[in-house]
């Protein structure tokens, strides 16, 4: 080995060691959806600007992710430096001190630009504990052609009575044409997301101000009865096992006249590559019952930094980048405005380019129509539109969802499902010490 070659080898080894020692790796736990995958693809822009930070991704299915990150944050496992969490977790985890407060974001981040409804859901006692990556509400997606054939016109803000009328007019079961597709699969984030939001518009609530369950009230009965009637008369068969994806497939194949679900679905159903009805989709606000609340929810997938991470500064730098205006512009530049993560910033909806996206305005109006701090007609002791931000809700919500799904499958009556929901919620709330 010549001295020159030896020196070269030595220099290479030193450089390699220096690179390895200098770069800090942050592990990001995320969900598998279009916007998050796009972020992974574009993350090179971040690592190029920050060569001292390396990114490692852990992509998991939503329920698995929720379990994994909860386990990690509760035991200070330290496996993740950035976590993708929902609006349900943020207030609970923030109160527990499990998340790093993000109150020191730089001025250039323009925190006041975040949509107030979304920001409110991520704030605990005045501190911001997560920054929104994308926000969503729910709205009515409908087939303009079928609506026209039925001789009806969808108002921008329909009522539940109109939805029922339109569903009846658009249903042709023999042609496998169903007036309405709604979630039926049991789960607090599945059928209960839809039904809780729907019940809010009927004047129902999960609990009164003393934390007493309210399923024995008339409002819940009216909401559940109408839901069952809509689905049994005008919905697709086997709806009790339909979630977002099943309804998306039905709608894209032209089998649903209307579909009330997450606003993020708008970009899927209007994408001509996958949707056979892309040209004929219209949007409207979620229905109401004239009581001042609409049946739409509010959700944001947000990025948070767990307390106890040993890469806090780098993790903060990353969440700032991924939720910044610059990132939005980067997506628009590479993937087009329709693929920009929606529902987080006011400036996005003021952008004339984004205003050209067909569902942009309705998404914004839907988000603004939801108020997580005051979600129901009558006052409640909790926050959250389609969920109750208490740790016990996941279990209770899913158990109640199973009762309502059973009612949809025809295994129990609406009254029986409600009385079982009342009994089980009462039992769990007593056990948790909310009521005596």
């Amino acid at each position: 080995m010549t001295p020159k070659f030896r020196a070269l080898m030595g220099a290479c080894a030193t450089a390699a060691l220096a690179t390895a020692a200098g770069a800090e790796t942050i592990t990001i736990a995320t969900v598998n959806n279009g916007d998050m995958i796009r972020m992974q693809k574009l993350a090179d822009a971040f690592t190029e600007a920050n060569p001292d930070i390396e990114l490692e991704w852990v992509t998991l299915e939503e329920n698995v992710l929720r379990q994994r990150v909860t386990q990690d944050v509760a035991t200070s496992g330290g496996q993740f430096d950035v976590m993708t969490i929902g609006t349900y977790e943020v207030p609970i985890w923030g109160k527990q001190g499990w998340l790093v407060p993000l109150d020191d974001l730089p001025e250039s981040y323009d925190v006041d630009d975040l949509l107030p409804a979304i920001r409110g859901g991520l704030t605990v006692d005045g501190s911001l504990y997560a920054v929104p990556f994308y926000g969503e509400s729910s709205m009515v997606m409908y087939r303009k052609d079928l609506m026209e054939e039925a001789g009806l016109e969808m108002p921008d803000a329909p009522s539940w009575d109109f939805i029922k009328e339109a569903a009846a007019a658009m249903t042709d079961k023999e042609a496998e044409q169903y007036g309405i597709c709604l979630r039926g699969k049991a789960g607090w984030g599945e059928n209960m997301a839809f039904l809780s939001a729907m019940a809010n518009s009927y004047g129902a609530r999960w609990f009164d101000e003393e934390w007493n369950p309210q399923f024995d009230g008339e409002a819940w009965k009216a909401a559940l009865t109408d839901y069952l009637e809509l689905m049994n008369e005008y919905g697709p068969p086997g709806a009790s096992s339909n979630g977002f994806n099943e309804n998306l497939a039905l709608f894209q194949q032209g089998k649903c006249g209307m579909w009330i679900d997450a606003t993020v679905a708008a970009s899927f159903v209007t994408n001509p590559t996958d949707s056979t009805v892309a040209e004929d989709v219209g949007f409207a606000l979620a229905p109401d019952k004239g009581l001042g609340k609409r049946g739409n929810w509010l959700w944001a997938w947000s990025l948070a930094v767990p307390a106890g991470t040993d890469a806090e500064a780098s993790a903060k730098k990353f969440v700032e980048w991924a939720t910044s205006k610059e990132y939005t512009e980067l997506v628009a530049e590479t993937e087009g405005w329709a693929n920009v993560p929606p529902g987080t910033r006011t400036s996005l909806y003021e952008n004339p380019e984004y205003q050209k996206v067909p569902f942009a305005q309705m998404t914004l109006e839907s988000i603004n129509a939801a108020d997580p701090t005051n979600p129901t007609v009558d006052p409640v002791p909790y926050t959250g539109v389609q969920f109750v931000a208490i740790p016990e809700f996941q279990a209770i919500g899913t158990a109640v969802g199973q009762q309502f799904s059973a009612a949809l499958a025809g295994q129990v009556s609406a009254e029986e499902a409600l009385s079982r929901a009342q009994a089980l919620t009462e039992r769990e709330m007593k056990r948790a010490g909310y009521i005596k």
């Binding site: 852990v58 299915e61 994994r68």
Partner: protein
Amino acid sequence: MARAVTPRRKAFNTLAAWIVGVLVFFPILWIVILSFKTEGDAIKTPLAVLSAPWTMESYAVVQERSDYFRHFWNSVVISLGSTVIGLVIAVPSAWAMAFVPGRRTKDVLMWMLSTKMLPPVGVLLPIYLICQSLGLLDTKIALVVILMLINLPIMIWMLYTYFKEIPRDILEAARMDGASLKEEVLYVLLPMAVPGIASTLLLNIILAWNESFWTLNLTAAKAAPLTAFIASYSSPEGLFYAKLSAASTMAIAPILIMGWFSQKQLVRGLTFGAVK
């Protein structure tokens, strides 16, 4: 004497076996078919799916997005490691139980099996905390040890059953010829139990390869095997059936091929001692 089988009965049996075989294999076949379709075609009705054009698009996307070989290598290390270490412990244990049983051997065997009756989630938190305090979260070592312990009762039971079929007299004869314990096990017992050991090995590799509860809960980025690779393509908001199918096909292909080549050995081992 073999029972006479009429041609009609033989044809019926063959047909029935084919129907059962196709039914069992159909979900896998359907996954493979979907993996060669676009996302838009994958959600169509079965007939429309079959007539839609074939494409490698999903495989290309999966390759681009994920580090398949890292997950694959982790799966290989975890499944082989846990099985080999398990065998090293299981062979002497099964030998002792089969040839030198004590009064409580049956109870010990039953107790070992009873650990399989506990739902894994019941011990998730203690095991998670132990791994965390030992700094073993997201490491292959943790998974090798845990999967080895989980599969050990099955290994011991299987080997115990095979060893019981081997005539004790042969081992005694070896001993009388002056064979030491090590020689008796290595040169007499093991060669006779090769089919049993091979099937135990293969079955446990398959079990460890497919294990998803612990592999998903104890890994993050570094030690994640192919089960985590599949899970990363499942999505509650978005139709990614074709990509999920492509990822599943890539994850099950190695173990399927291994099973295909070793099926004779596997069946021989599993039916070993069934007819005496």
